[in-house]
């Protein structure tokens, strides 16, 4: 009898399987999973490996010294790095607009006039069209009094701009109905004595004039060149209930194109040049054209140049290799939209700017693996055997799923990469490792929802969301309601929350809407997984014809996602007629532990052959 341990070190998790072999019978005893320590394929992983081994052995009647051999995957150390490069940036020169959506603006209508300090309102001339600016120290009572006084003196007060949340209170106390926009944080920055327009519409409607470039042109009498300049302001105001636009002498707003730089993609024969600005589609078609990729690098001094050299440096540092010897083996790009604070804005305006998210993959030196094996042997005092490549082991492991038989194709979707493997007509294994999976998804959710909180983005990725409608009920994503016996905490009210498994509710920032969150999450899952899965499958299928695939087993952490397997299965069935399902290793472990299981199976098969 002998005890075997299979160890699979992945980018984000380390999985182990323990089995016992007696008289040619192989019996799996236990398995476990921990977070990978350090970068995959380096000696730092040992801490995690030891922990996983001990956890799995605890569930058996054996101890570490009983283990006869540790079978470890020939972990091709892959480093995936992610980066975003914003392609456009909105800058307001001399603060030209307040595109602002306070929850309760006051009054109604569209007003135009010169901006004037509320203190100076009494000195304005009769019939003069003005828009008073009301700072924090003036109360709504005082403001209303001053404006009413001005009305009496026939001064044409067209609207008002207020710092505090007093819009409705002032509107109710002034004699005429005028539009009032409130909650302007940096009211001190609003220029005085310049033409301005204020628009407020009824609740439930959106502004119609200030979000139209020609509407603004009409109000300010702009020529065609000036109208072109202010067009981005107008567009960014679409969907608001209220807005203020101020015309400054040289004022303008620019959508500046940031020199994102060129990307150089080298295949075996040619090097292609792609401008990052041309977007993900162009980058990916170039990557596919030159595949297999030999290297990729960015134009020095640009954002893409910085990003790729950062990846190479990370890797160079861990195995002390010169930067030149490190080659990018795969590159994956996705278009995205990043909300960014407008430079020069007054009320914290945001604009949506285009960006490209990149995932790159670099394979490290195999010598690191040797180092890991030696150290693991020393630490565990157990002989260590390096099994075959990861994907072969995953294939073997996948075959333990009930209902699966050769010739199958596997898609191992982890945190850093998507691996695909299958058999060709001669029975040889064909496989591919591609960059861009779960971690990239997290990064893009984080940036598109403007969270700046990776662990929150991770939660959004893997758990469903809901809206807290009252202290006693929530609305789920499908519109159904869930009720509670005990009241929920008041700070959850009205918020979108993430429903964690342990019934814990994590509130999201107030401005995130449920519909927005669902659409960003689903779109990103589609963009990354469908594109990358198709790319991976084409590389391993004869003639790149996915219709020839018999069946596909999904494996890895991303296969556990509540949406991703469904999105992939649906897409592949509709477009290629391929059956796709989530693996269930050894009939009970789900899509986990395929490699660890395969390592043990492979080790025993080899012995039998001898």
């Amino acid at each position: 009898m002998r005890i075997l341990a299979g160890v699979d070190i992945g980018n984000s998790t380390t999985e182990v399987a323990i089995a016992c072999q007696e008289n040619g019978e192989l019996l799996f005893l236990s398995s476990d999973i921990v977070k990978t320590t350090g970068i995959k394929g380096t000696a730092e992983n040992i801490q995690g490996v030891m922990k996983a081994l001990l956890l799995a052995l605890e569930k058996t009647s054996y101890e570490l010294h009983n283990v006869d051999v540790i079978c470890i995957n020939e972990a091709i150390p892959v480093i995936g790095e992610l980066a975003m490069a914003t392609l456009t940036e909105t800058i307001i020169t001399e603060s030209a607009m307040i595109g602002h959506n306070p929850s309760t603006p006051g009054g109604l209508g569209l007003g135009t006039g010169k901006t004037v300090r509320i203190d100076d309102l009494s000195q304005c001339l009769p019939a003069e069209k003005v828009i008073p600016i009301i700072p924090e120290e003036v109360s709504f009572d005082q403001a209303a009094q001053i404006i009413n006084e001005a009305f009496k003196n026939k001064i044409d007060v067209q609207g008002a701009i207020v710092k505090k949340d007093d819009g409705v209170l002032i509107a109710k106390r002034v004699a005429n109905v005028i539009p009032i926009v409130d909650e302007i944080n940096q009211i001190e920055d609003v220029p005085v004595g310049l033409p301005a327009a204020v628009e407020v519409v009824e609740a439930g409607r959106t502004i119609t004039e200030l979000c139209n470039p020609y509407g603004i042109a009409t109000l300010f009498g702009l020529n065609s060149e000036q109208t072109r300049k202010i067009a981005p302001i107008a567009i960014s105001l679409i969907g608001n209930r209220s807005a203020v636009v101020i015309q400054t002498p040289k004022g303008g707003i620019k959508e500046r194109k940031i020199p994102a730089g060129k990307l150089f993609i080298s295949g075996q024969k040619y090097t292609h040049e792609v401008d990052l600005v041309s977007g993900a589609e162009e980058i990916m078609s170039t990557v596919e054209k030159v595949a297999p990729l030999e290297d990729a690098y960015g134009e020095p001094g640009t954002s893409v140049g910085g990003m790729l050299s950062k990846i190479k440096k990370t890797l160079g540092d861990i195995n002390n290799q010169p930067l030149e010897s490190i080659k990018v083996q795969d590159l994956f790009a996705v278009d995205t939209i990043v909300p960014q604070k407008v430079k020069g804005g007054i009320a914290g305006e945001y604009s949506r700017n285009q960006a490209v998210g990149l995932a790159a993959m670099v394979w490290t030196d195999k010598s690191l693996m040797q180092d890991l094996v030696i150290k693991l042997r020393d630490e565990s005092k157990v002989p260590v055997n390096i099994g075959g490549t990861e994907v072969r082991m995953a294939l073997l492991g996948a075959l333990t799923t009930p209902g699966v038989e050769k010739p199958l194709v596997i898609l191992d979707m982890g945190a850093g990469s998507i691996d695909a493997a299958g058999f060709d007509s001669k029975g040889n294994v064909k496989f591919v490792h591609l960059a861009g999976a779960g971690d990239m998804l997290t990064m893009l959710i984080d940036s598109e929802l403007d969270l700046h909180d990776i662990s929150l983005a991770e939660d959004i990725k893997i758990f469903p969301a809901a809206k807290v409608e009252s202290l006693f009920h929530i609305k789920l994503e499908d519109g159904s309601l869930k009720f509670f016996k005990n009241p929920l905490s008041g700070n959850l009210l009205g918020r979108v929350v993430i429903l964690k498994e342990d019934r814990e509710m994590i509130p999201l920032p107030k401005d995130i809407l449920l519909e927005k969150l669902i659409s960003v999450r689903k779109e990103m899952k589609k963009k990354i997984f469908i594109n990358n899965v198709v790319r991976a499958l084409k590389r391993i299928t004869p003639n790149r014809n996915l219709r020839l695939i018999h069946e596909i087993v999904l494996l890895g952490g991303s296969a556990l996602d509540f949406e991703i397997p469904g999105i992939i299965s649906e897409f592949l069935l509709i477009n290629y007629g391929v059956i796709t399902g989530r693996g269930n290793i050894r009939g009970k472990l789900g899509p986990r532990n395929a490699v660890a299981t395969g390592l043990i199976l492979s080790f025993c098969q080899k012995d039998e052959a001898i």
């Binding site: 929850s103 007093d166 209170l169 109710k172 202290l471 006693f472 009241p487 009210l493 009205g494």
Partner: protein, 123 residues
């Protein structure tokens, strides 16, 4: 018990029970301004009471309100309650010595947001 002001008939909007003699205090006014800014009507009831009854009275106020949301305001404490909550667990309570005008205004805003099912402001 006397009804001091209401906008139509009965208990309109958010019901506010105010300690007798405290009706004209700034904090009661600020609560109303908060409601007004958010567009919510209200009814004020003035009553004599002890501070220890404030939670129960806030709940009573909530039970009278068509929106099920009520406020009780004494000279030095304010409680925001929703009728279906346990008496001792109001939505917000601003206790003795914690009351100031801006908190009173925010409490009014939050009463409105509770009804609008919008995220509450931090007090």
């Amino acid at each position: 018990m006397s009804i001091i002001s209401y906008e139509s008939s009965g208990f309109v909007g958010v019901v506010i029970i105010v300690e007798e003699g405290a009706e004209n205090m700034m904090q009661a006014k600020e609560i109303i301004y908060g409601l007004e800014e958010e567009g919510l009507p209200h009814t004020i009831i003035s009553e004599e009471f002890h501070d220890e009854d404030i939670n129960g009275l806030a709940q009573q106020a909530a039970n009278k309100s068509v929106f099920d949301v009520g406020i009780c305001c004494s000279a030095n404490a304010i409680v925001l309650h929703q009728g279906n909550l346990p008496k001792e667990h109001p939505v917000i309570q601003i206790s003795k010595d914690q009351v100031n005008l801006s908190k009173a205004r925010l409490l009014g805003i939050n009463a409105a947001r509770l009804i609008k099912r919008m995220p509450l402001e931090e007090i």
